[in-house]
Amino acid sequence: MLIVAALAVWIAGWALNHWLARRRERWVPLISALIFGATLLLIWELLVRGLAVPAVILPPPSAIAARLADPATQGLLWGDFVQTFVKGALSGFVIGSGAAFVVAVVTDRSPFLQRGLLPVGNFVAALPIIGMAPIMVMWFGFGWQSKAAIVVVMVFFPMLVNTVAGLKETDALQRDLMRTYAAGYWQTLLKLRLPAAAPFIFNGLKIASTLALIGAIVAEFFGSPTRGMGFRISTEVGRLSLDMVWAVIAVAAVAGSAFYGGIALLERAATFWHPSQRER
């Protein structure tokens, strides 16, 4: 019965979106996305109940929502969020992408570093996080510092490679023009090359933003104090509190999307002139 209801919900949601898609108002894409999401949640709820899936395998969304609504859980989740996102991911993101930016500018001036550093960079970027994490815990302790260190390692090279590529964006004609204006290295860098590199830099930042959260969460599997999103996930799975695990996942998804979205908004404001940002 519930399975039939799930099918009906699917068809209704699909029909509604189909009808909406023909309209051209501004709010249609947003509403369509909301309807799609709500349909998925409803089907999930109905199927889990209809097929009597044990809650230790997949809890229904209503159970997860009930968990999220519980004030005690909210307190825990807030502590986890601060520990993992603010302390671990965000500080690692700032240090890692900041350092990568500086190194990229330095590398750009030195052909030796370009040939030597970038291949090594690729190599380090390919190291698996589960290999790095225990080492970082050994070096920097159990606190957020070791998580930030892993995030630094993870975001450094995507950011470096993107920035280096971005700094190559200007062509000889543009640089010659700067020279005829009697602009020095720094003026050329600040007024021509960095703005031209901005789309690449933001690309690097966007990649880094998602890597940062993943890195900070996974790193907590390898030793942590008794708080943090990664700690909560690995502990609550062992306790079979899958509703709690999903609640943490929901928080992580929202935090990650907001982080990415924030950078995308910044990008739009900073690179409004770039073809990729026009016609929006």
Binding site: A55, V56, P134, F222, S234, V237, G238
Partner: protein
């Protein structure tokens, strides 16, 4: 028990190899090591085959929760610690203990002597490494019995989520770490510490030991007569495996090594582990000591603010399977 076993064996032989044996999947709690020697010995020595069983042994690992595997239909029986099994039971997964090959607990808290820790009262203000993923329950109930908060501070203890190694102790990031008599304790020794450098708190001596490595299945399986018969044969053959492992520790360790697909275990470590494990299974014929189970329950219920389980479980263990053997 012996007589019944020979009976089963005779049955198995007369049934002949042509007939398909009953399939049974066992999910271990941890990676292939001497901790599970009884099952590997029973497989290698053909005790399962003699009982007309085709047993598949699935090794576990740091990211595998056996109760979840059995809930998802990935196993028929699992090896689990009683606290985790009872917690799962409260979460709505009706696990039942059908046999208990481990009579004693191997869990300890191992501290460095130089930290000045001599008794549990000295834990205050110290940093302790604890395993989570369902293995934290005995520690948490111990601390709540001692009345020590686990939130840190001068009057409480700072708890670290310890990885499955003893690095935090060796690097002095923690004052104490969780160890098992048969495994991590020896990793500390191998790292260059002598027993004199260490202060060891055995959970058994502290009166907070909980039953480890029991054989669990679901209520549904126990009630199904055909499955119950299979389980009884499984438990009997497994106990035969344990008996063999106690009599031939080196050979048992070698059998475990053979089945270790990862190749991560060493002969020295496994032979030593086998002897330590044998101390824990000594004297067990598989039947559960109900008073020990009650002690486990009491210790878990007395969890203070955050008890591991909130109500006394009913039907969490049964002698139905073991009594079918005798």
């Amino acid at each position: 028990m012996k007589r019944v076993l020979t009976g089963i064996m005779a049955l198995g032989l007369s049934a002949g190899a042509a007939e398909a044996a009953d399939e049974l999947t066992l999910q271990l709690k941890w990676v292939t090591q001497a901790q599970f020697a009884g099952y590997y010995v029973a497989l290698e020595k053909g005790f399962y085959e003699d009982a007309d069983l085709d047993v598949e042994i699935k090794p576990g690992g740091p990211d595998i929760a056996p109760p979840q595997v059995i809930a998802g239909g990935g196993a028929d029986v699992i090896i689990e610690w009683m606290p985790a099994a009872l917690a799962a039971r409260e979460k709505g997964l009706p696990l039942v203990n059908i046999a208990q090959p481990f009579k004693r607990s191997g869990m300890m808290l191992t501290c460095l002597k130089e930290t000045g820790i001599e008794s549990p009262e000295d834990f205050k203000g110290k940093t302790l490494g604890v395993w989570f993923f369902g293995n934290e329950f005995p520690f948490l109930s111990w601390m709540s019995q001692l009345g020590i908060p686990t939130e840190g501070g001068d009057e409480g203890v700072e708890v670290l989520k310890q990885g499955f190694n003893v690095d935090p102790l060796i690097q002095k990031q923690a004052d104490c770490v969780s160890t098992m008599t048969y495994n991590e304790y020896w990793q500390v020794i191998d790292a260059g510490f002598t027993p004199d450098d260490l202060v060891v708190f055995n959970y058994t001596d502290q009166g907070v030991a909980t039953l480890e490595d029991g054989i669990y299945t679901t209520e549904e399986n126990v009630e199904d007569p055909e499955m119950a018969d299979k389980l009884a044969r499984f438990v009997a053959a497994s106990m035969q495996g344990w008996e063999y492992a106690r009599e031939n520790p080196d050979e048992a360790a070698d059998i475990v090594l053979e089945y270790d697909a990862t190749g991560a275990q060493t002969e020295e470590h496994q032979r030593r582990m086998m002897r330590e494990i044998n101390k824990l299974t000594e004297g067990s014929d598989g039947t559960l000591d109900v008073s020990a189970a009650e002690t486990t329950v009491d210790s878990l219920l007395s969890g203070g603010e955050a008890p591991v389980i909130t109500k006394r479980p009913e039907g969490a263990w049964t002698d139905k399977i073991t009594s079918m053997i005798e």
